[in-house]
């Protein structure tokens, strides 16, 4: 996979969530994603950025235009050095939440994109990688 360009948005306050999803929508539009896909991407960014604010306090969202096997896509990497997720299987279950939310965040974000990867170590942090390919 080749990264063609990337933007890093630091997530420290809830207001940064709005900024991140707006940047994501702009990038998606520039790359030629449909209006619906732009909305799906912006919504996914909102969910993963909110997880950073809710659980880790601070972190980063990196938005990249990538190319792999002749196809182009938008990659979102949400990374934090927060408490980490003790039970990744549980966190991916619909309706499960430790933060008093709906529990739609991670499993929901997964449904909005094509590729989803979650890695987390307790005490070290969490990285969520999402990709959506241009059709």
């Amino acid at each position: 996979m080749v990264v063609l360009s990337d933007i890093t948005i630091s997530i420290e306050r809830e207001h940064d969530i709005v900024a991140a999803r707006q940047k994501g929508r702009e990038l998606a539009a520039r790359m030629g994603f449909s209006g619906t896909d732009q909305t799906l991407l912006a919504t996914a960014i909102s969910e993963v950025a909110r997880n950073i604010v809710s659980y880790a306090g601070r972190g980063t969202v990196v938005l990249s235009s990538v190319e792999e096997q002749g196809r182009r896509g938008l990659m979102i990497i949400a990374e934090d050095h927060g408490p980490g997720i003790a039970d990744v299987g549980l966190a991916m279950r619909d309706g499960y939440s430790t933060g008093g939310s709906l529990g739609a965040g991670l499993p929901g974000a997964k449904r909005l994109v094509d590729d989803f990867e979650l890695s987390s170590t307790v005490g070290t942090g969490t990285t969520v990688t999402l990709k959506k390919w241009l059709r």
Binding site: E14, L40, E47, G108, A109, R111, L112
Partner: protein
């Protein structure tokens, strides 16, 4: 308060103009709960036409607004959910179960006026 709230007869209209932060959404909820009582409103319309994203937090807060208003004696209609926003909400697994929705402000006002008092 970043969301203007208009009063038209017994109905309050909250017209969201731009992307809101979590805090602004919570402020809107509190402000509406207060005004429903002060102005003796029977209905609340939340116009989300301008919103390009309704994520889990926004959906939960809108649900909170509708339930709070209901406990204060007013009915809520959410209007103007854009088609791609609706699609994203379905993918995300979000719903506004038990909350009235209408296509636009006009339909929402009609719905509230037709409701038995």
């Amino acid at each position: 308060m970043s969301v203007p709230i208009l009063k038209q007869g017994e109905i309050l209209i909250a017209s969201i103009q731009s992307a809101l932060s979590d805090r602004e959404l919570v402020e809107l909820r509190d402000e509406l709960a207060d005004r429903v009582g002060r102005l003796r409103s029977r209905g609340v319309v939340i116009d989300v036409t301008a919103l390009d994203v309704l994520d889990s937090f926004a959906t939960r807060t809108i649900r909170g607004i509708a339930y709070t208003a209901k406990l204060r004696g007013a009915k809520t209609v959410v209007v103007g959910i854009q088609p791609e926003v609706a699609f994203a909400m379905v993918q995300l697994g979000l719903s506004l179960d038990g909350i009235a929705t209408a296509l636009d402000l006009e339909e929402g006002m009609l719905l509230l006026q037709r409701w038995p008092k």
